[in-house]
Amino acid sequence: MTIQLRSPSYFVLAALLDGALHGYVIIKRVEALSDGAVRLAAGSLYAVLDRLADAGLVEVVNEEIVNGRARRYYALTADGGTALQDEAARLAAAAKVVTNATARRRAINTAVSPA
């Protein structure tokens, strides 16, 4: 199955680019990286983490109890890093046809010219 990332999943993976994080820090990091556009409730975060873990894109690397609260630390897997880079490249290409007139014309010409 081709990996298609929803917006929350994309930003959760992006949040883990610089190292393993636990739930609350992921929520804050996602909000900061998306400029406030993606605000995850805790329940939604764990649904996203479950989907990502099921697909092998993140993994639990550490567990600890801090002030009586259970914490698990999540990290990107190699597949997760690849999926994130692929999605970023797709988004960049999609943005380019809007911001760059030359790229837009090239895409149109490629589409209409006979093979």
Partner: protein
């Protein structure tokens, strides 16, 4: 000042207790594995002094917990469709078995009921149960054959049983399309939907008397649509399965053809009667299928 470490601890204990109560929306196994972690994150995210769970977090816990409990795992849209159509066929078979049994029980009360008639109904029920067991076990081809035999065998009288015809067409399509060697089992739990559908059908007839007499009676089908659309938030298989039932209901109110052996229609009814119900049921089916398809596509994304 009434604040301080002990007050903060007390607030947190109250909040934790309330969050724990909400976490019961999740299945027990999920709570055992992840409950403490989710609770820790909820408490991390709560502002100091808060004793009541926020509305946003509460809604999220209830929605995600319900999805975790009842919703399907991530899979390709084709798999969702295949499962949903099997569920639709299973419920259609269940509905027909239930109505045949009810008819048979009523017939038993009639003094001097001919044994031949009772045997016919009994044979119908036996076909139906065998077909349902085969479908639950993932034997789609066997179910298709049994459903076909049930339609063709002289165990039905009256009009063509459109629930069975719809189930047969769905199963035949699945048998041809599904080339994977593994058997796809269907949970028999979905049969709990059958009595609900019968009840809705009964309510529909009570309200409409078979015909729409005023605009207010249109409310019923739309209530039906709304009720099942609610299921969309949890499981995309539900609207697709219910659309199968809606198609059968549409055929029931529109086509009046005698069943294959010994069938008969009500005198004066033309073979095809396009009523407002035809359009309403058709529209409901289209909307439900569209919603189910969109949700199935979304489910495939991570």
């Amino acid at each position: 000042m009434s604040g301080g470490p002990s007050k903060r601890l007390s607030d947190e204990t109250v909040l934790a207790r309330r969050y724990r109560a909400l976490l019961r929306a999740y299945p027990k196994a999920w709570r055992a594995e992840r409950g403490d972690e989710l609770l820790g994150t909820l408490l991390d995210a709560a502002e100091p002094g808060r004793q009541r769970p926020s509305l946003r977090e509460s809604a999220s816990i209830l929605t995600q917990g319900t999805r975790e409990r009842f919703g399907p795992r991530r899979r390709a849209p084709g798999e969702v469709w295949s499962e949903a159509l099997r569920i639709g066929a299973l419920v259609l078979l269940g509905q027909t078995v239930a109505s045949t049994l009810l008819f048979m029980l009523e017939f038993l009360d009639v003094p001097g009921s001919p044994a031949a008639e009772l045997t016919r109904y009994g044979a119908g029920v036996a076909f139906g149960i065998a077909a349902m067991v085969a479908l639950v076990l993932g034997q789609t081809v066997v179910t298709t054959a049994l459903t076909g035999l049930w339609i063709a065998a002289p165990v039905m009288h009256g009009e063509m049983p459109w629930q069975l015809v719809t189930a047969f067409l769905i199963l035949a399509g699945l048998s041809l399309a599904d080339r994977t060697p593994s058997r796809r089992r269907t949970s028999a739990v979905w049969l709990v939907v059958a009595p609900l559908v019968l009840l809705l059908g009964f309510g529909f007839n009570q309200m409409t008397g078979g015909y729409f007499s005023s605009a207010s009676t249109l409310l019923y089908p739309f209530a039906l649509l709304l009720a099942f659309t609610a299921g969309v938030t949890v499981d995309p298989r539900l609207p697709i399965a219910v659309a199968c039932l809606t198609v059968a209901m549409m055929l029931n109110v529109t086509l009046h053809v005698p069943s294959l052996f010994g069938g008969a229609t009500i005198e004066g009814l033309s073979p095809m009667e396009l009523r407002p119900q035809t359009a309403v049921f058709g529209a409901i089916a289209v909307v439900l299928l569209t919603i189910g398809h969109l949700r199935a596509r979304r489910l495939a994304r991570i």
